[in-house]
């Protein structure tokens, strides 16, 4: 018997009992749709969290002074030493590593910002032009800190969005002068509003060149160095390089800590990935239930079509062929049911996406493949028994309808 004939015959007998066929397909479709929608939701949640982290800057490695692992009273404290600070030259030395794409040194201080009679305390960030790219920040108006020598102490500043509104209202800020502590700074740009990141409200910041901040606060150390690795794979390399360069410059003493954002991100990624799998697995149970239903209905179909099976045998169909016909029926049923389920699932995901626009809901490919495969697999697996039963019918008894 030809494959096309087998499929045609099977689809003919499916059409022969439309209600039964539709109900079985519905069961299959609901199972597949459940897997698709639930994994889409799980995956959406995972992507949402990952995206949130990525918006802080991708491939970020952070260097901070001191060993954070050390707890209690260390030998340094006993002998009156404090952790050696990280200097601008230390930061610049990092560029020796080829895995490092760019870095931004960071100082943090607090000073009073004033323009005319308006005055308030602000957090002052000292950095370089690279900060914009490293932290994925955006300008609203004007320019960010000028590129060039890291030791340049130009008296320019960039205002956070809220600072600009508080000091200038609707006036033009770029080109104006403000007073920061005991120095005057010219406003060269305003950040666009970007909410909170890394525990600081960027909208309430003032950013000045890092060398200028050292002068302003009369110090020379760095609070952090933000490093961007060339790509995700080189993060580890960057971590090792940064540590070895700084240890070397600090006379062999490991007094810096290097942390990666990736480690945190991966943990979240793993947790939410596992959650998605679990939810998908639960949904897959409904597919197994659909499989049992298929088996049940197929057994009824065999019983109802005993005479037809007897006739096929009399006409010269071996047991194998009868089995294949029932397999083909189950396969067709599961295949059409899966396609309907996928359509239903994608439609459902789309609607959820419309209702919660911030959630990037889209079914992961592996879930789609797994759902379809499970549907086809259970459909065929659960038809093994009915098909065998049909194939083993005694033709004489079957023709007599017994």
């Amino acid at each position: 018997m030809r494959l096309s004939d087998t499929l045609q015959f099977a689809s003919g007998s499916l059409r022969g009992s439309p209600t039964r066929t539709l109900l079985m397909m519905l069961a299959m479709a609901i199972g597949v749709a459940a897997v698709v929608v639930l994994t889409a939701l799980g995956e959406g949640a995972r992507r949402y969290v990952v995206d949130q982290f990525a918006s802080l800057g991708t491939n970020l490695v952070i260097v901070l002074p001191g060993r954070t692992e050390t707890s209690g009273v260390g030998p340094g404290l006993m002998s009156g030493q404090t952790p050696r600070e990280i200097t601008l030259d230390d930061a610049q030395a990092l560029l020796r590593s080829r895995a490092i794409k760019r870095f931004a040194p960071l100082t943090v201080g607090s000073a009073s910002l004033s323009r005319g009679a308006l005055n308030r305390e602000v957090v002052v960030l000292g950095s370089t032009s690279e900060l914009l790219a490293v932290r994925h920040m955006e300008m609203a108006v004007g320019r960010f800190l000028p590129e060039g020598d890291i030791h340049d102490t130009a008296s320019v500043c960039v205002l956070g969005n809220q600072m600009k509104r508080e000091l200038f209202g609707n006036e033009q800020a770029v080109g104006q002068w403000v007073r920061l502590g005991d120095r005057r700074f010219r406003v060269i740009g305003v950040m666009s509003s970007q909410g909170e990141s890394m525990g600081m409200r960027t909208d309430e910041l003032v950013i000045i060149p890092v060398a200028a901040s050292h002068q302003l606060f009369n110090n020379s150390g760095l609070f952090r160095i933000l490093i961007e690795a060339r790509n995700r794979d080189s993060i580890e390399q960057v971590t090792r390089d940064a540590e070895s360069i700084l240890v070397e410059r600090h006379g062999g003493e490991r007094d810096v800590t290097v942390i990666t954002q990736d480690a945190v991100l991966q943990t979240f990624d793993r947790i939410l990935g596992a959650l998605t799998m679990a939810v998908g697995g639960i949904a897959a149970i409904s597919l197994a239930v659909a499989g049992v239903l298929i088996m049940n209905v197929m057994l009824i179909a065999v019983a109802q079509r005993v005479k037809e099976i007897g006739l096929l045998k009399a006409l010269g169909a071996p047991g194998k062929q009868i089995r294949q016909l029932f397999f083909a029926e189950a396969a067709l049923l599961s295949a059409i049911g899966s396609v309907a389920g996928l359509a239903l699932g994608y439609a459902g995901s789309f609607i959820i996406g419309q209702v919660y626009p911030s959630l990037p809901v889209s079914p992961p490919w592996w879930a789609v493949v797994a759902a379809t495969a499970t549907a086809l697999g259970t459909g065929i697996l659960f038809s093994v028994w009915p098909a065998r039963r049909a194939a083993k019918l005694d033709p004489v008894a079957a023709l007599a309808g017994k």
Binding site: M1, D5, P318, P395
Partner: protein, 226 residues
């Protein structure tokens, strides 16, 4: 071409052994017209199933065209049925969801014959049996006589050497019954061996060779002088 040697068939009913066929020795040549008669329970249906390879003898040997078919496996048996044996049943056994033409096509589908050839052979047969205008009708839209003609077309579409008919006129009125019988007898001219099981003496008498059965044994085997 058909030879049964010492064929027995016993069924187990409960804890009792019931013999449906006892020591049957029988042989047919090609192109014979045989009727098997006897009261119900005489074993004539079992005999027909045995001849049609739907049933296996409990003991004894069945030779078909010189080959022993007693030991064939399921697949080989199906192949012999497909190629050498045609069945016509009392209750027609048409597949209700298929049209007349599709019912006739069915054995060729099972045999894996290409579509074009199938369509051609179906067309010829439907014309020969006067069913051309009924080709696309479902069985329940056909009269009893038409249904049996479709069934005969289906039984002959693979050009079998033996046609086994089990009470082919049993569900038909007399006029239609004769019509169907004539159709079957017409196949003899093509060299087919026709085996007719009936309890109707008048129909049975038409066969050239008449076998009477009782209690699983052959009571008489008369050859009619032509």
């Amino acid at each position: 071409m058909i030879e049964l040697q010492n064929v027995c068939r016993t069924f187990t009913v409960g804890d009792q052994e019931v013999a449906a066929l006892r020591d049957i020795d029988l042989s047919f040549g090609a192109g014979e017209y045989i009727s098997i008669m006897g009261p119900s329970g005489s074993g004539k249906s079992t005999m027909l199933n045995m001849l049609g390879l739907l049933d296996r003898p409990s003991s004894g040997t069945y030779l078909l065209d010189g080959g022993n078919v007693t030991d064939l496996n399921d697949e080989q048996l199906a192949r012999v049925r497909r190629e050498k044996i045609g069945f016509v049943f009392q209750s027609f056994h048409l597949v209700p969801r298929l049209t007349a033409a599709q019912n006739v096509e069915l054995p060729m589908i099972l045999a894996g014959i290409p579509v074009e050839e199938r369509k051609e052979r179906v067309k010829v047969l439907m014309r020969n049996y006067g069913l051309s205008d009924r080709a696309d009708h479902k069985p329940d839209q056909l009269s009893g006589g038409q249904r049996q003609r479709v069934a005969i077309a289906r039984a002959t579409v693979m050009n079998p050497s033996v046609l086994l008919a089990d009470e082919p006129t049993g569900n038909l009125d007399q006029a239609t019954g004769w019509e169907v019988l004539k159709l079957l007898e017409g196949l003899l001219e093509q060299g087919i061996t026709l085996v007719l099981v009936t309890h109707d003496a008048e129909i049975g008498a038409r066969a050239h060779r008449r076998i009477h059965m009782l209690d699983g044994r052959i009571l008489s085997d008369e050859q009619q002088a032509k």
